[in-house]
Amino acid sequence: MTLESLIPLLVILPLGGFALTALVGRRLGKQAHWVPVLAIFAAWIIAMALTFQTLTGAAPLLPGSEDAHGYAVHWFTWIPAGDFVVEVGFLIDSLTACLLIVVTTIGLLVHIYSVGYMSHDPGYWRFFAYLNLFMFSMLLLVLADSWLVVFVAWELVGLCSYLLIGFWYRRRSAALAAKKAFIVNRVGDIGFALGIMAIFVNTGASAEGATMNIRLSIHRMLELGDANPIPLFAVALLVFAGAMGKSAQFPLHVWLPDAMEGPTPVSALIHAATMVNAGVYLVARSNELFASAPDAMVIVAAIGIFTAILAASIAMTQTDIKRVLAYSTLSQLGLMFAALGVGAFTAAIFHLMTHGFFKGLLFLGSGSVIHAVHDEQDMRRMGGLAPKIPITYATMLIGSIAIAGIPPLAGFFSKDEILAESLKFGFWWVTGIGLFVALLTAFYMFRLMGLTFWGAFRGPKAIWDRIHESPRVMTIPLILLAIPSIFLGLFLGLPLGDSRIHQWLAPIFHHATEELLSLPEEAYALFGVDGVLILASVTVAAIGVVLAWRFFGADLGSLHLPARPERVREISARPGLAFLYRASLNKWWFDELNHLLFIIIGGRIAAALWWFDREVVDGTVNEVGQLTVGAGRGLRRVQTGRVQNYALGIAIGLIVMAGSYLILAGNPR
C-alpha cells in the first residue's frame, strides 16, 4: 500500500462519513459526531503525509514538468465518448498541497469545535453529515485534474453552502440567505460553465481533439495562441466570473454577509477558510491562462482591490460581530484577487493560507463569544468580556493582531508581500489602495475588540452573571489555530527575498511570471523599496490600531483607555462623514439596487412576458380552436332538416356541373 494509493481515500472517507451519518445519524443522537470526526482525522493524516512528501520534493516528478513534484493519479474513466474522453483523476502538486494544509486542518478543527458548539442543537447529526459532505466536495475540488470534475465539485460546494447556511431552516431569514447564496453563486457559475465550454471549443480546434484535463487543455490553448476560436481573454474572464461568484467579489458579493445566518462553525469553515478560497485556487490553477491575457488580469486586479476597499468601508460601521468578520473576509479576498491580478500568484496563495488560519480563528472565537453571552450577536450589547472569557479573549486578540498586519505575526508577511509585488510590477494604485485598506482593517478589528472585550458590559445583568468560558472542546481548536496565526508567516515568509513558500510554488508559477508576463525579478532590497514598504504597512496598521483605541477604548496590559462613544457619534455626524457613515451602514445600498433591478424591474418584465404568453401565444392557440368551433357552428346551418333546401342544393349542384361542362368543353356551334 503506497501513499499514492491512499489518495482516493481523501475523498472517499468524507463521503463515507456523510453517507453513514445521513443514514443512521438520527439514531446515534449525541454520538453522531464520532464517525465524521474520525473520517476527517484520517483524511487529515493522509493529507499531511502527502503534503510533506510533495513539498519536500520526495514525491515523484509530475509528467510534463522538470521541477514540479507531486502525484498524478488516474482513478476512472468517466465519459468515454469516441474521440472525447473525460478521465477522473487526482493531481497533487505544491499548489494543491498548500490548499490541502488549509482545508484539512481547519476542517478538522471546525469539526471538533462543532461538537461543543452544536451540542444543544436537535439537528446535531444533520450538521455533521453536511459538514462531511462539504469536506468531500472541497477536497474533490482541490484534488481534481479535470475541468468537469472541478465543476461538479464547484456545484457540490455551493449546494453544501446552501444546506449549511439554511441549517436552521425554520428561520425565515436563514432560508432566504441560503437561497440568496445559491442564486448569486449560480450567476457566477454560468460564467464558469461558459468558460469550460469555451475551453472545449478551443482545445477541440487543435489536431489532438478536445481535452478536459486542466494542465493539457491550458497548454494546448497556449500553443494555439491567436488561432483559438474563442480568444483567451474571454476564456479567462469567464473563468474569473465563476471565481467571482464563489469568492464573493463585486458585484456578486451580496451573499456573503447574509450567509452569517448559518451556525458559526459554518461561517468559519466555509465562508472564511475553504469555500471562498475556491475562486482564488481556480485562478491560481489556471495562472498560465490568465498570464496569456494580461488585460484580463488587470480587470481581476481592479475588481479585487475595489471589493477590498468596498468591504472594508462597510465593516467600519457594522454592529453584528459576525458581519464585521464577514466583510473583513470579503476585503481580504479582494486583496488576494488583487494579488493574482498583478501577477503575484505566490503572494496570493501565501495570504490565502495565513488568512484561512487567522480568519478561522476569529470566527470560531466569535462563536465562543456568542456562546458565552447566550446567543447575542450585537456588539452594542457586549463589552468588558475579557476577564470572563480569557482564552477566547487571548486567542481573538492574537487573531486581530495577525489580521491587522503587525509583525511578526502571520498577516504582516503575506499582506506586505502583496503590496510589495504590486508596486514592483507597476500597479502603484493597487499598492496605494491596499495600504488604505490595511489601515481600515486594523481600525475595524480593534473596534471589534474594543466593543466586545474592553470597557463596560452594556447588556442585561442577568446575562452578565451567566457568562462563562466555553468548554475545552471549543477552546482547544482556538488555541490550535492561534499557533499558525503567530508562526505561519515566519515559517513561510522567511528568508526574505527567497521565502520558503516562494520555493514551494515557483515550479507552478514561474512559467507564467517569467516567460508569459515577463515580470521583473528584482533582488530583495531591504533598504530600498521593500524596506520602505515594510515601514509604510506597519505605520498604517499602527495608525489604525491607535485610532480604534482612541474611539473604542483599550484595556491591554498597562494601557487603559476609555471608550468614547459620544466622540464617535459626533464625528459620524459631521457633514461630509455623515453620508459616508450612512452609506457604510447600509452596505452602499447594493441589496436595494439588486432588489430594484431584478425583483422590481425584472418582475415587471416577467409580468409583461407572462401577459404576452397568456394573451398572444395562448390567445392564438385558443383562437384557432375558436375558429374551428365557429366554422362548425356556421356550417351547421346548412343542415336545416328541410328537404326543399336540400333539393335547392341539388339544383345548384346540377347548374354548376352543367355550366362548367358547357364552359370548359366549349360550344361546338
Binding site: Q644, L654, I655, A658, G659, R669
Partner: protein, 197 residues
Amino acid sequence: MRSKILPILLALIVLGAVLSIAGLMLVLLGQDWEDALFWILAAVMLGAALLVVTMRDIIRCGLAMIVSFMALAGIYVLMGAPLLGAAQVIVYIGAISVLILFAIMLTQTKDAPSRLVFQTQAVPAAIAAVVVAVLIALAVSATDWAELSERVRLATSVMSRVLFEQFVFPFEIVSVLLLAAVIGGVFLAKREPGGPS
C-alpha cells in the same frame, strides 16, 4: 257574384285573344297552321304551368294543372302520337289530377288566405330555375342532332305491336307496380282504428 263571373270572363277574354292571334298568324303572316297550333298550345301549356306554381289557392292550381295537361296532350297529337295524347288525357287528367284534388280536399286547413305562398328560399329557387332553363336551351341549341327534317307520324297499330311484343314484360311489371301503389296508398291513408278522424 261578381267574383265568380269575373274570372270566367277573364278566361274567355284570354282565350279569344289567343285564338285571334293564331288566326292573325295564319292569315296575315301565312304561316303553316301546324306552326301556329304549336305556338298556341305551347303558350297555353307554359302559361298554365306558371299559374300552377304561382297561384295562392291550391284548388285553382290544380285546375290550372289540368289545363296544362290538356295542352300537352294537344302537343302530343301534333307530334304524331295520338294514342299518347289520349293516354295523357285519361291518365293524367282523369286519374292523377282527380286524385290530387281529392287530396287537397282532405288536407284543407282553416286559415287559408293569410298564409305565405312561397318559402324563404323562393328567390334563389327562381334564379336556379331560370338558370336551368337557360342552360338547357344553350345545350340543346348547341348540339347537332342527327335528325330527320320531318317528323314521322306514328300509327297506333305499330305502337301497340311494339308495346305487346317488345315491352310486354315491362307492361306486366307496371301493372304490378300500380297494384302495389294502390294497396300502399290505401294502407298509408287509412285511418287509425279508434284514432282521431
